[in-house]
């Protein structure tokens, strides 16, 4: 009987272990490949140890991509969070319009990001796109949305915001609905204004939910590929070449497999570290919230 009890936990984790191996194997293989100079032109590679990483970190292209990636991820996550919380606050006031909008709001989430990007590419087209057509009466009909480095990055972030703000809004709305009502009733009795209540009650209590949304969106935005590639292909110049696009170009287009994988490993490390910091922060906030209760 004793040995059965001892063995049970190990048997229970077997499915998870198999699944983990399915993830770890390609990861380990990728990591291993980065130690070689494996490419289409060198199918029998030599071990170069950490040379690929050294090259990555000494390339201007890498630092440019890292900077663009961070700008994109921070920009998208911040705007989505602010807008998502604002939308959730509006929808929380239960009205007929709110309930209808709640259903409509989810629509962008049901569109594949790459399709959303293609759709927006057409809409942002300067001469035939609907956006410039609508802006024409205001004297802004000639905006070249994706032709300048800043415009291309902002347009990409805007598409990301359009697709993913509903995700943040839904999470925040779920959080708002789960908040206890008594503190708000007490604040209302004390005559607290909307802004005071929001700042002192709603936001602190909602913060764990918001942070979950931020973690998801920030992690996802660091790994972005589809939206930017469909919208700008990384251009103009190198202005929107994020780390994922650089990795794709190196590994698939230019067939420098080991070097391309090195980019993805570096990206993995960045995402892992960012996730660790954010999750630790979330844990602290949750503990604080639990203590307050």
């Amino acid at each position: 009987m004793g040995w059965r009890l001892t063995l049970r936990p190990y048997i229970l984790i077997v499915p998870a272990l198999l699944l983990t191996c399915g993830i770890l194997y390609p990861f380990g293989l990728g990591l291993y490949y980065t130690l070689f100079d494996f490419s289409a032109s060198k199918p029998q590679p030599d071990m170069v140890r950490f040379e690929n990483y050294r090259t990555v970190f000494t390339q201007d292209a890498f630092w440019n991509s890292a900077w663009v990636t961070v700008l994109y991820a921070v920009g998208a996550a911040v705007v989505e969070t602010v807008l998502g919380v604002a939308v959730a606050l509006l929808l929380h006031r239960s009205s007929f319009v709110g309930r209808v909008l709640e259903k409509i709001l989810i629509l962008p989430l049901m569109i594949a990001p790459v399709i959303a990007a293609i759709m927006w590419k057409l809409m942002l087209q300067p001469s035939v796109g609907v956006v410039n057509h609508l802006l024409k009466p205001f004297g802004l009909g000639g905006v070249q949305w994706t032709d300048t480095p800043a415009g291309a990055l902002l347009s990409s972030i805007a598409v990301d915001v359009w697709v993913y703000t509903p995700f943040v809004a839904i999470l925040a709305l779920a959080g708002l609905r789960s908040l206890p009502t008594s503190p708000f009733e007490a604040a209302a009795v004390d005559g607290a204004g909307w802004w005071y209540t929001f700042r002192r009650l709603t936001l602190p209590m909602l913060w764990p939910y918001v942070l979950v949304a931020v973690i998801f969106r920030f992690m996802d935005s660091l790994k972005v590929f589809d939206i930017i590639y469909a919208l700008t292909e990384g251009g103009p110049g190198d202005s929107t070449v994020v780390l994922q696009i650089r990795a794709y170009l190196e590994a698939i287009r230019f067939q420098r497999y080991s070097f391309g994988i090195s980019y993805t490993i570096v990206l993995w490390a960045v995402v892992y570290l960012a996730a660790m910091v954010l999750v630790r922060h979330l844990g602290k906030i949750q503990r604080k919230a639990a203590e307050a209760k």
């Binding site: 380990g28 199918p43 029998q44 590679p45 087209q125 292909e233 251009g235 110049g237």
Partner: protein
């Protein structure tokens, strides 16, 4: 202290380690098999008299790109099966992800596809790792190749474009024949005759004239009743495909090179004073007379704009204009004419080309059947039918380009045949063959976008040359 936690961690670590060790050890052989070629070719196994039915009952798997040439091929596949008894199974992918699919498939070392479409530039990428079958021995073996295939009937520059010694910088036309030309495109100027007539313009004979006309159209055409029309459609996306059509054609006509070879090493030449001046002028032309949102322009937008009367001229593949020019295809149908485009300072009409070729997977286990397919698909019978009854224009064979029925079909397009005949002898691949072609041209396109965006051409192109020197040198 909970010792169970440590036991579990140790167990997980040991299990993961135990699983990873043999797997990663196996990876040493996981880089792919040794692709060194054996001395002989599978073509040598084919003996006796030539017989179309030799591989009867076999099935060949083809990977194809969505294209009018492909449509013509698929429409005629029954003829091949009737002639040989070989069945052809095929997958068709759109061009956006076709080459990614092909690259991944070939690099995996599997023989998922026996034959596939590729461009001549892809030979430089797929040839060195040994993914492409050398078709030379098949072509030379009279037991494998029927006399009616007639190698001499191909335009020689097209056959040479798919032939390479796999040495960076070595000229084409030497070494293995890694693909066969099947359909091709010259890069010339197509223009809207209606707007040219209204504005009193004539096709440009020099690059200066081309730039001027592009600007004139953009300034004057909207007032002449062509709302939103701009001067010239050329590609501008951050892709290798931006460089090879109009840009490379005009670049070559100016006597410029992408690389020069010094002692067997390649040296980037896109930053010579002449190349910098030309690139600056090209970017200026696009700014003065090109499309809005140029940095996202692929051949598709260029072609569509010519057909939609949004572009007065198109400097791109002749097929991109052809598919807008045929009757009923677009609002501009019947109003599109062809012209060789501006000459270089010395009168050069050097033209870059794109060749849709057919290649064979070196790992194919059905090489003999695959060769029969390639032979049929590039043979006179199919190509003539495809050219006359379908839209497989720009024949790779001399006999078909001179065929009365084909000429009769094409004569309705003003200047098409004349333009083709004017540039055909000077049309070849103007790039230096080397395995980093896609990296070099993608970076070049990015540099062009930066110059278009206002950055200093000299510093951008010097940066590009420095970066490429380290990669290809």
């Amino acid at each position: 202290m909970d010792t169970h936690v440590h036991d579990r961690r140790r167990f997980l670590a040991l299990t993961a380690g135990a699983a990873a060790t043999p797997l990663l050890a196996a990876c040493g052989a996981g880089f792919g098999s040794d692709d060194k070629k054996s001395d002989g070719s599978a073509a040598d196994d084919v003996t006796g008299s030539f017989d179309w039915k030799r591989e009867k009952g076999r099935t060949v798997k083809a990977l194809l790109n969505k294209h009018p040439y492909t449509d013509a091929l698929i429409a005629d596949l029954k003829s091949f099966t009737a002639k040989t008894g070989i069945k052809v199974e095929y997958d068709v992918f759109p061009e956006d992800n076709y080459f990614d699919k092909l690259t991944v498939d070939l690099s995996s070392g599997r023989a998922s596809y026996d034959v596939f479409m590729l461009g001549a530039y892809m030979v430089w990428q797929y040839g060195p790792p040994g993914w492409l079958e050398d078709l030379g021995p098949w072509m030379r073996n009279s037991s494998a190749t029927g006399a009616e295939w007639d190698q001499a009937d191909f335009f020689p520059n097209l056959l040479q474009a798919d032939q390479w010694s796999l040495k960076a910088g070595a000229p084409l036309g030497q070494g293995g024949q890694y693909a066969l030309p099947w359909g091709w495109e010259t890069n010339v100027v197509a223009y809207n005759t209606e707007v040219f007539g209204k504005l009193g313009l004539k096709p440009a004979e020099t690059f200066d004239e081309l730039r001027e006309i592009a600007g004139v159209i953009k300034r004057k055409a909207p007032a002449a009743g062509y709302d939103g029309m701009y001067g010239i459609a050329v590609r501008g996306s951050r892709s290798w495909a931006t460089i090879h059509p109009g840009f490379m054609t005009m670049y070559a006509r100016n006597g410029l090179h992408d690389f020069t070879v010094h002692g067997g090493k390649l040296r980037p030449a896109m930053n010579t004073p002449e190349a910098i001046a030309f690139t600056q002028d090209w970017a200026g032309m696009v700014k003065q007379g090109g499309p809005p949102s140029w940095t996202s322009y692929t051949w598709y937008q260029c072609s569509s704009d010519l057909g939609a009367k949004k572009a007065g001229m198109l400097f791109d593949a002749d097929t991109a204009a052809y598919f807008q020019a045929v009757a009923g295809a677009s609002p501009a149908s019947g109003k599109i004419a062809f012209h060789p485009g501006p000459k270089g300072p010395d009168g050069s009409l050097a033209t870059n080309m794109w060749i849709w070729s057919l290649g064979m997977n070196a790992k194919s286990r059905k090489k003999s059947a695959s060769w029969l397919f390639l032979q049929w698909a590039t043979g006179k019978e199919h190509l003539r039918k495809a050219a006359v009854t379908n839209n497989h224009i720009d024949p790779v064979r001399k006999s078909i380009s001179q065929d009365a029925a084909y000429k009769d079909k094409m004569k309705h397009l003003p200047g098409f045949i004349e333009t083709f005949e004017t540039v055909v002898d000077q049309t070849k691949i103007q790039f230096t063959p080397q395995a980093q072609f896609f990296d070099a041209t993608t970076s070049w396109a990015a540099a062009l976008q930066e110059i278009y965006g206002g950055q200093n051409a000299r510093s951008v192109l010097n940066g590009l040359a420095g970066d490429l020197a380290a990669k290809v040198g």
